[in-house]
Symmetry: C2
Subunit: 137 residues, 2 copies
DNA sequence: CAGTATCCTCCCAGATACTG
DNA sequence: CAGTATCTGGGAGGATACTG
């Protein structure tokens, strides 16, 4: 059994009922836990520039293991964010590219990225201050 | 330990992206892994409505363990997103509230939430289709 | 009430080896 | 090249008990 995607919580289906608060938060959370893993955002952002083969993707990301890149891509493919195209040549060639859905994710993700950029020194300082006062005790 | 990684023979086709791009992605990713955990977003969104005590927060979230809520709040406090105020009464009372920084996070998070809401049935269908065709094999 | 402290379990990432 | 298969440890998160 692969630990990657098959037993991930199934939040999307549960988005039932209620413009209620919890339903909404649960949905937000499901997206965040989906793309909040170690490699998904990086992968999506790289694919945003255009289709890419497996190993090229691996090289460009840098320190991802083969296994994790595979799992990440499978997860993204499963959710319809990435399309996988196999060319049955020898050696085999597989292209990955964003679907329309995948592209639509860029906007909100970049919004979050902008927030991160605008505030990451404030966060760093808050963190340092917190650690300092915690260390004093 | 062993740096034995492939810094050997790197043709590097699209290397011009790596500097700025990776830094940016790393920052995005750090934020996502920070708030992408199981309870942070839920907590922030609840606190967005106003200050709240520990146990009330716990009740409203519902199925969070005491330990995890504590850890979540400590993490948010450490990053300067949440302010913790202790009233040394008996019994003790502790209020949690969003800082300005915490409030500023609402916008991009809600953007992502909106994306999730707009697309979650497409995702669910993609997922179902993927699982179906995977199950056939 | 608002936490610590401890234990425990299962999941997940990484490493490694093999394959069509 | 683009994957699977398998093993392993480390850590996230839950349960429980105790405390100021």
């Amino acid at each position: 059994m692969e630990p990657g995607y098959s037993n991930v919580t199934e939040p999307v289906e549960k988005a039932e009922v209620s413009g209620h608060f919890h339903g909404r938060c649960h949905t937000v959370n499901s997206v965040l836990t989906r793309i909040g893993d170690k490699w998904s955002v990086l992968t999506v952002m790289l694919l945003a520039e255009g289709p890419c083969r497996f190993n090229e993707l691996k090289r460009r990301i840098g320190d991802v293991s083969q296994r994790m890149l595979t799992l990440t891509l499978r997860g993204l493919e499963r959710d319809g964010l990435v399309k996988r195209t196999v060319y049955p040549t020898i050696p085999p060639r597989v292209d990955y590219e964003l679907t329309d859905l995948g592209h639509s994710l860029r906007q909100p993700v970049e919004a979050l990225g902008n927030w991160a950029f605008e505030h990451h020194d404030r966060i760093a300082k808050a963190r340092a201050a917190y650690d300092r006062s915690a260390g004093e005790i």
